[in-house]
C-alpha cells in the first residue's frame, strides 16, 4: 500500500485546506525561508512563494521518520521541545509530520523500547533523520554512557549507519558541552568529531531553541536537504547573526550605558549587560530574534547576560559574570610574587656576575699597571 502523505494524514485528522495553507506559511517562516523577495518586482513573474513550496512538499511526501537518541545530557533540549514556545507547532512536527523514536518521551520502556527502535532502524533504513542530544564519550571505550548494555559509541554508529541526515541538538551533542568542560573526565566530544561520512548539522544552545531544532527538521522534510551552515555546521538562517547584533539593549551599548550590577539604577533602566559578563558579541544564535515562550523574552531581555551557550567550549570561556574582555587565566598574588621574585633574582644574579667581572677586570688593570710602573717606561706610566 502506498504510504499516506502528510497532507492526507492531516486531512484525516480534520484539518481544513485553509488551515493547511496557514500552516504551510507558518512553517516557511519558521524555517527561515527567504528566497522570495518581499516586494515582487513589477513585470517579473515571481517564482512559487515559500508557502507554496511547503504545501507542495506536504501534499506529496510521507511522514519523516526521526530517531532521537540521548547520550550524556540533562534532557533539557527534549524538555525545551516539549514545552516549546509554540507547542502546537512542535507537537505537529513531532506527531504529525514525523514518526519518532524518542527514548525519553516515548510511552514504551525497557525491551519494548529497544525493539521499537530496532524495527524503526530497519524499516526506514536510509530514510530517517537521526537527532542526537547529549555528547558521546570516548574515554574507556565509551563505558560512561550505556543504554541496554551498549556503549553510546556503538549506539551512535549503529543509528548513524542508516541515517539520511544527522541533527546534533544542544551544545553537548554539537561540541561536547558541559560534559566536555575541563577536565572532561569522560572524554566527551561532539557528534561531528565522530561522524564524518554523513551530513551533520549542529543546533547548539543550552538548551537548543526548540523552534530552531524543529525548523531544521522541517527544512529537511520540505526541501530534502539540510540548511546551509556556517563553519561550525550551524544552520545560517538561525545562526547567521550574533545575539549582540539583534539585541534590544544594543542602543545602550552604543551609547556606552551599562548596568554595573544586577540591582543598580542601570539594570532597572534596562541598560546593556556587557559589563556583567554578556557574551552576546561573540555568540551566534537566534535568541534575540526568535526568543522563547512565544516570543515573550530571552535571557538578555530578562536581565541576564548571554552565557554564549551556542559557542564551542562556552563552559571554559572565562567566568559567566566576568566581562568578556577579562583574561581567562589570571595571575594570582602568589604567582605574581613568584614571577617578580624570579625576575629580580635573575637580574640581581646577572648584575652580581657583572660586578664580579668588573672588579676582576679592575684588579687586573691595576696589577698590570703596577707591574708596568715597576718595569718602568714613560709611555706606560701615562697609561697607568
Amino acid at each position: 500500500m502506498k504510504e499516506k502523505t502528510i497532507y492526507e494524514h492531516l486531512r484525516e485528522k480534520g484539518l481544513s485546506r485553509r488551515d493547511f495553507m496557514k500552516l504551510c506559511g507558518t512553517i516557511a517562516g519558521m524555517m527561515g525561508l527567504e528566497f522570495v523577495p518581499p516586494v515582487k518586482a513589477p513585470g517579473k513573474i515571481p517564482g512559487p512563494g515559500p508557502e507554496a513550496v511547503v504545501a507542495q512538499a506536504l501534499t506529496t511526501r510521507p511522514k519523516l521518520p526521526i530517531i532521537w537518541l540521548e547520550f550524556q545530557d540533562c534532557a533539557g533540549c527534549s524538555e525545551a521541545i516539549s514545552r516549546s514556545s509554540s507547542p502546537l507547532l512542535s507537537n505537529l512536527v513531532l506527531n504529525d509530520l514525523a514518526i519518532e523514536y524518542h527514548e525519553t518521551l516515548m510511552a514504551a520502556a525497557g525491551f519494548q523500547a529497544e525493539k521499537a527502535k530496532e524495527e524503526c532502524l530497519k524499516k526506514y533504513f536510509g530514510k530517517y533523520v537521526l537527532v542526537v542530544e547529549g555528547s558521546p564519550t570516548l574515554a574507556d571505550d565509551g563505558i560512561y554512557c550505556t543504554v541496554a548494555g551498549k556503549s553510546n559509541l556503538e549506539l551512535l554508529k549503529e543509528a548513524a549507519a542508516g541515517a539520511a541526515a544527522i541533527i546534533a541538538t544542544g551544545n553537548c551533542a554539537c561540541f561536547g558541552g558541559i560534559p566536555a568542560a575541563r577536565p572532561n573526565p569522560t572524554g566527551a566530544v561532539g557528534v561531528t568529531d565522530l561522524i564524518k561520512d554523513k551530513p551533520v548539522v549542529n543546533i547548539p544552545g543550552c538548551p537548543a531553541i526548540p523552534e530552531v531544532t524543529t525548523g531544521t527538521i522541517l527544512h529537511f522534510l520540505i526541501l530534502g536537504e539540510l540548511p546551509k551552515t556556517d563553519h561550525l555546521k550551524r544552520p545560517l538562517p538561525f545562526y547567521g547573526n550574533t545575539v549582540h547584533d539583534h539585541c534590544l539593549r544594543r542602543p545602550f551599548y552604543e551609547a556606552g550605558k551599562f548596568a554595573e550590577s544586577f540591582d543598580d539604577e542601570g539594570a532597572k533602566k534596562g541598560y546593556c549587560l556587557y559589563k556583567l559578563g554578556c557574551k552576546g558579541p561573540t555568540t551566534y544564535n537566534a535568541c534575540a530574534g526568535l526568543k522563547w515562550e512565544r516570543g515573550l523574552s530571552y535571557p538578555v531581555q530578562s536581565g541576564h547576560p548571554c552565557l554564549g551557550c551556542s559557542e564551542p567550549h562556552f563552559w571554559d570561556g572565562g567566568g559567566f559574570y566576568q566581562g568578556q574582555s577579562a583574561p581567562i587565566l589570571r595571575l594570582d598574588k602568589n604567582s605574581t610574587a613568584t614571577l617578580v621574585g624570579a625576575g629580580l633574582a635573575a637580574g640581581a644574579a646577572l648584575a652580581g656576575l657583572n660586578a664580579v667581572k668588573k672588579s676582576r677586570a679592575r684588579k687586573a688593570i691595576k696589577t698590570a699597571a703596577s707591574e708596568k710602573v715597576s718595569s718602568g717606561t714613560g709611555e706606560e706610566k701615562k697609561e697607568g
Partner: protein, 225 residues
Amino acid sequence: MNWTEIMNFSRGLLLHVSMIIFVAGMSYRLVRVLLLGWQRDRATNKGSKLKGVIVNYLKGLLVLPFIPWVRRTFRHNELTFIAGGLFHLSLFVVLAFGTAHIMVWKSLWGFGWKSLPTPVLAFFSSVGIISMIVLLINRLTHPVLKLLTRLPVWINWLVVFLPMITGFIMARHLWFRYEVIFSLHLISVSLLLIWIPLGRISHFLFYFFSKTIHGAQAGKRAVTP
C-alpha cells in the same frame, strides 16, 4: 582551528604567557637598571627632596604637556611634541577609561570604576591612531630621524599601533566578525606585552624613576626641576 578556538586561545593561554613574560621581564629590567648604580649626590641639602619630586611630577604630567611651547626643545620638534603628547594622552584615556579595559583591570585587581561615554572614547582613540600615523610619516620622511631609526624602533611603532587599530575596529564593530577582530586585538596585545621588557617601551616604568630622581636632586638643591 576556527576563530572561536583562536579567540579562546588568545584570551587564555597566549595572554597568560605574555603576562608572565611581561611581569618577570619588567622585574628583571628594573633590577638591572637599579643595580647599575649611581653616583653619590654630595650636594648639601638646601631644600626639600619631596617637594622637588612633587613639583617635578605635577609639571611633567599635568602642566607642561598642555603648554609645551614654553619649552625650548619644543620649538625644534613641534610635530613630535604635539603628536607624541596626544598619542600618550589618548592611550592613557582609552586604557584607563575604556569599558572593556576597565573590566580587565577589575578582573586583575578586583575593583573597577566608571567608564567614559563611547563617543568620547571614540574621539580619543581616533586621535591616538592619527597621532601614531603622523609620527610614522614624520619618521619616514625626516632626513635625520630616518638615519637614526633602526629595526627595533619600527617594531616599537608596530606593536603599539596594532592593538590601537584592532581595538578601534572592534569597539566600532567594523568590517570583521567580532571574534576575529577580538582575537587579533588580543594577539597584538600579547605581542606588545612580550615586547615591552625587551624594548624601549619599558620607559612607561622607568619614566617614573627618572622623574623621581631628577625631582629629588632638584629639590635638594632648592631649584625648580
